[in-house]
């Protein structure tokens, strides 16, 4: 995968898109968890959310590099 993508002639790091994708995915997961009350079993919700986001972001980042 290219490390930079030309967006209107400005080079944008692919990681930025990975970041946005990760944010979108973790938001969807978050909505699903809230909807079905799955957060009941999780001790520290904020930490869990962050961890999910980092997992997704890191996986995408590994795909890029």
């Amino acid at each position: 995968m290219p490390r930079e993508i030309a967006l209107f002639d400005a080079l944008v790091p692919t990681l930025l898109f990975a970041f946005l994708f990760g944010a979108a995915m973790s938001w969807i997961i978050d909505v699903v968890f809230t909807r079905y009350g799955l957060y009941r079993d999780i001790w520290y919700r904020a930490l869990f959310r962050l961890a999910v986001f980092i997992c997704i972001f890191a996986c995408c980042g590994l795909l890029v590099y």
């Binding site: 809230t34 904020a46 962050l50």
Partner: protein, 725 residues
Amino acid sequence: MITSVHFKNFCVACKNTIFPASPTLVYIFKVLLASFMALGISLKFELEQPRTAMMTVAIVMHSRSGMVFTKSIYRLLGTLVGVAASFLLVAMFAQERVLFLLCMAIWIGICTAGSMIFRHHQSYGFVLAGYTICIVGLPATINPELTFNIGVTRVSEIMIGLLCAGLVSDLIFPQRIWTVVSASISKRFSDFSDLVIAMEPGRTRVASGSHRVKASPIIRFVTDIFELESLSASSSLENDDSRTYRLKLNHLNSAFMEVSTTFHSLQQLLRRHEDYSNPIVSECIGELYQHLKAALLFEGHVAQSSSQASVVAIQIRQYRESLPSLLKDSRAQLLRKLNAHAQADSDRLDFETGVELLQRFVDELYAYAMTYASLADANGQSGMAKNEPPHFKLDFDVLTAAFAGLRGILTLVILTAMWIFLDWRSGVEAITLGVITSTLFASSRSPSKTVRQFLIGALIGTFFLYLCNFYLLPNAKDFLMLMLVLAPAIAFAAWVTTRQAYATIGAGVFIIFLMHSGFNAALSAEPVIFINDAIADIMAITLAGVMYELIDLTNGRWSQQRLSKNLHKLIVFSCEGPLKLARVEMERRLRSLGYRFSGAWQGGTRGDGEMVDHLLSSIEIGHAVIALRELLAEIGSRSSLKAGDEIVKGVAQFYASPSHRRHDLVVASIAEGLADLDTDISKKELAQGIRLQFLTTLHLLRSVLLDEASVFSSFRPMNDLERTK
């Protein structure tokens, strides 16, 4: 070995000891941590101005996580829009500085006006879009080829700041908005119960100690509704309980809106009864009211929690069910007592009007208590209306927004003129700060006071800055030392922002300190430049303050006139607008008017009292007119009440352009309507209930129009007073 159990115990211990004892300490710690994270990351990425990231942290940090998220989003949006606008302007007018500044002024004017139209965080987004153009666009006029880099760097720095602030406030001792909201709604319920219990029908004047019924609790409730609304809007980004409760909260707010309005009408009506009608009427209504007071108590005191409120709700329902029989007794009693007097007819009408209002009040109180009680069970749907509650949209006054925009433009124009003609070295700083000051506080309740506080903060910040830039920073050798150098000022400013009354001072310290602190890519510690910049800052803030004083939109005669014009328009709307939406729409507009003007009501002068009276009497008239229109629509074409439409039209005309003559016309047509209802034809045609409703509505409308305390007392000839007596 540290196991998860130990860790859990440790966390619980922290929560139990440190946390409740000093949330302020936790907050200061969070601000420090987030700013140093932002500083570290920016330095790591070798960004131009790490202080922008720190400033972002300082600005968005709030003790509640939801507020941080919401503010972050609007800060990001505002910055993006502002940066895009700067690119456009630089691309178009880089060589023409007059045109460039002209367009900039227009852009800032538009953004300031926008910040007046919207509120809270949205308003802040507009302010940012406005002043970002100074930060990005002005340096770009000097070297246009760097514009893109400056813009991208600024966005990156802000992103870093936002991420750090968001992470820290969500992960470390997060404080949910929901706790604040739930405390505030339970306090509101008990306060309102207190207010209802404190009212003594027949002695409203004695209780309030003045001629007028005290309006201040009602005003407090009105502003409360809006604050709660904005809090709950911010909580939408929080994840825990808040989101589940949002819908219920909206219901609660609209239920409370109704019940507080009706309570006020009831209060006013009872006061008028005392002034004008037979004391027996007040006595009878007072007896009915006493039972209601008993129903509101839970074991001798007002309900403090939603579970207690559910008991109260059941008591209110029982009262409501027993009301018809109570009413029968009361009516019989009234007739017995009235037989001794003449003029029984008008007194009976007074009584029926009061009872009608009391019944409405009890219904709405029950709905309110039920909604509140249903908060206790998280998933229960009991007591909730199925229909979508009204949303609290915003209305705005075009003229106010335009003047605010003009103020921003003028500040910019004066400062740029000074910059260009005096060849002022610190001009860019001064322009930026001046624009920030003159736009940021435009939507505050009393801007000149806020700017004064901001100025004090700026002075304190300059003092810190001097110490920091010339004594401490030159000795800071590594990151740890840098943190130590910056920590005292940041901690101080964070501490000040937690004190509600002085929050703006804290903001001033933050902004000035972080704007000029000397750790950029290259250290700058030149005393001359420093003093020039400090003078420029003070001048810019002072100028903005002077502009706020000159174009003062929150105080005095002008805002009173705007208010009364708006109220008149509103009543005309309630007469002529679409009937289906009229009630909800009118409530919404009234509340937002009340909120907007409530900033000016803290002085407690005579004019303030008039304004409050005017607002509340408009609520009554609007309600009465809408009730009348609903009744008219119900009976439809077989209307024997010819005067009905006349009355509605008359009220609309009177409020469109008030005059003695029109007032007399309205009152006359209401009298005609009342006479119409007394004829045999209408008695035959209309059902007993509807006829009674007509009578009481018309009576209420007339009594409000004739009311002595109403602002239109000047339109009322003296003999009316005699007639009502």
